[in-house]
Amino acid sequence: MSHAAAGRRPYCVVLVVPTGIGAAIGGYAGDALPVARAMASVVDTLITHPNVMNGAQLYWPMANAHYVEGYGLDQFAAGRWGLRPVHRNRIGLVLDAAIEDDLRWRHLQAADAARATLGLDLTDYVVTDAPLGVELRSAASGATWGTIQRPDSLLRAAERAIAAGANAIAVVARFPEDTDAEALQVLQDYRQGQGVDPLAGAEAVISHLVVRQLRVPCAHAPALSPLPLDTSISPKAAAEELGYTFLPCVLAGLSRAPQFVVGPALGLFGGSSGGDSGGDSGGNSGATLWADQVDAIVVPASACGGSALLSLGRRALAIAVEANPTALAVSPESLGIPAVRVSSYLEAVGLLAAHRAGVHPQALTAQMPQINELPAQGYLQVNPLGR
């Protein structure tokens, strides 16, 4: 029975697996996508981000899953932006001027394939007026970050695509391919399904910049030279070994990514939905999602310092998954977030199903202590699940 037929509002979950922190599940080539698929089957609406959904040549469209770039997801979680579902977007493809001719043709053919084989709508492409100058960085924490030397050129190209009719932007930037021993070892580790993706932090910076400045859906695919065959590639990284580009998943995701609605900020601690009165220029916006409609957020238990969880962790059910270790050690407890720890994503999916059904998870176990009287005085600790 649908939620509408049952007279309930949709049960909405945010799934976050931060990029560039070596998440054992989701730190490689779209390898958290099975988690998203399973989760989407027990919730009404799933909101997640490109790092979860992008498997280079592989992707899996889901009617109830929203593909939201990280900056936009953080703004949504903070109650500043709404998400307005769409039937389709027209995608503008922005190519870094630093991409060599052969590699550029590979990406143009991927774009044409998405038009001809998937029926996606793209404007003509734009080449940046200067090489973007992507620079990679690894921090002491183990996370990867990055900067670009010519953010102005990126934004000019994206603005040209929007002027040509695009309302979503796919960026392909040429990423450096260092050949020193340390860089080669990092790459080898990544292909073996270990360590931290050296490109991820810079990729996020590129898409964040476009979303922050232009407020349209955006995602990024790196342009890299094909790697020699390696028969020991990890299944978790194998999706990136299948072709010449990582662009198909980006185009598929952006084709139905929700548009951002910039409305009055929500009062997240007691305010009501920003609703559909503010700033939505897209016509009928009855389905626009706001942060106060989120029922739960799921994150790795060691990566609880991201903006989305810090915004939502006190007002939605926060679920911290222990069996997805990362390079970080930022627990929910260390930041005062009242999260429920679960051992695995299997358990998280079960907890979400129970939460959606209104069943207390303790009732699914053999332990059911008698109800007690609240103490007359003193500090009352509120459990996120009610007991």
Binding site: P18, G70, Y71, A78, R137, A139, S141, G142, A143, W145, G146, T147, I148, P151, D152, L155, G201, A204, V205, H208, L209, R212, A303, C304, G305, G306, S307, L310, S311, R314, L328, A329, V330, S331, S334, L335, G336
Partner: protein, 62 residues
């Protein structure tokens, strides 16, 4: 005007957020530029600080 991206690291006292980490971090980052991407990447119980790694943007004269 020239737009530039910068990677920065900040330490924020755990007590300064008073439950609103996003506002506390964004305010601290705003002193260095416009926040683009950030996360708390370490919590040090001994010093009672949270380490924030971030990329911010700045606008400067060409």
């Amino acid at each position: 005007m020239v737009l530039a991206t910068h990677f920065i690291i900040l330490d924020i006292p755990l007590g300064s957020a008073q439950g609103d980490w996003v506002s506390a971090i964004e305010s601290a980052l705003a002193e260095r530029g416009e926040p683009l991407r950030w996360a708390i990447t370490q919590v040090n119980a001994a010093t009672q600080t949270a380490t924030v790694e971030a990329v911010v943007t700045t606008l400067s004269e060409a």
